[in-house]
Symmetry: C2
Subunit: 236 residues, 2 copies
Amino acid sequence: MPDLAAEDRSHGPYSFERPSVSVDVVIFTLREGDLQVLLIRRRNDPFSGQWAIPGGFVEIDESLEAAALRELEEETGVKDVYIEQLYTFGKPDRDPRMRVITVAYIALVPENALPPIRAGDDAAEARWWSMYDLPSLAFDHADILDYALTRLRYKLEYTAVGFELLPIEFTLSELQAAYETILGETLDRGNFRKKLRRAEVVEATLGFQTTGGRPARLYRFRDDAVAEVKARRLFP
Amino acid sequence: MPDLAAEDRSHGPYSFERPSVSVDVVIFTLREGDLQVLLIRRRNDPFSGQWAIPGGFVEIDESLEAAALRELEEETGVKDVYIEQLYTFGKPDRDPRMRVITVAYIALVPENALPPIRAGDDAAEARWWSMYDLPSLAFDHADILDYALTRLRYKLEYTAVGFELLPIEFTLSELQAAYETILGETLDRGNFRKKLRRAEVVEATLGFQTTGGRPARLYRFRDDAVAEVKARRLFP
DNA sequence: TAAATAGTGTCTCTTAGACAATATTAT
DNA sequence: ATAATATTGTCTAAGAGACACTATTTA
């Protein structure tokens, strides 16, 4: 931290020369057998009519994470979900109006926890888009989504973060389908299950689910695996 | 991105209610067979006399990375080194004077590229500290250092980032010692070399270095491994 | 019975880790 | 020769990937 007195002229409370800070939230869910992301269509310039990641400015007395959760709830009505800081984007010209530094977050929301989407005040429209078929995006939001997908895939491989996208109980075939959708590749059934057994992240329940063939056992994530993800959540 | 017009009252150019943004740079080097970090002793309140990570406010027209590189050069005279964004810390009360959101960076500097350290204007003193024997720190800087070490260790395991801390040519024993110092554990010689061979990140040069026993061959990092790290640098 | 889906087992190759053996220098 | 350090190899166990086999349901 610099000494404030030495820099008051350019950064003290009476200066106008300071950047604004926003949070943008990349909201992922699994819908229609697809990895989808919630985007809003901008009502005003710049980029009026273009699609963008939901976000907003950080209030003076709220933490970055609180701001991201607030924006998430304002846009979707969703609370109590997994969010994680992604990266801070700060090129001086990323917003043509003024200097805006944005702290990007990822949110993972299970489909069954999603209320119907409604557009907020500042959006002409809000809807889900497939991550694999995106529209043209405002600002540097295409970069942010690119990186968000990279990070999500990465985390999926070495943590149990996938449970944040699934209902409480699920079949292993459903879990595998979720992994395949997110990773963008097919996985071997036997090896996938072997890996799950070794990792000890899921446990069988007593229930079954009929599927058209042999009924599938229902599983849930183990409490300790969930706890580990939640612990990492606060401080990656 | 939010719509600006709808929020001008609290965040437009005439508002005083916006956070300041700073960058803090955790500068690592290997010195005296130790992993060390450069800290400055604060000249002014708050935390006057306490040690802190060097940093400063982001200028209105410079990118975050440019700000981090500028601060690094102002504090140490070092240019052209590896830096990487670590995390953005934004709790409202992390600075008792005012709201400051700080984007933390990691810099890796080889000892032989370091000029003698001099304290900048805003510091009473500047010196290297062992990461394993740190003083009490101002602000939330202990958290930042903690996380920086975690990230450094992590990157060391899966990238060739170590070369940023070593001279151009080095023996494999020196490289192993560097890894051991950073990871805080001893490694098996044979397995370490086997892993290096498989990873194809280093290549032998023609030189040797006398060591008191059998002379050790000098190695350098392969260009493509270095290029990969540099490519990741801009956008993790 | 056939089709569909669930679940398990086996083989091979790679890798990680522990540890032993050999090589080359200085004293 | 001995000490010191460098370099390579060997054994074993664990893990990843390809693929085949068995199980249980519906139509």
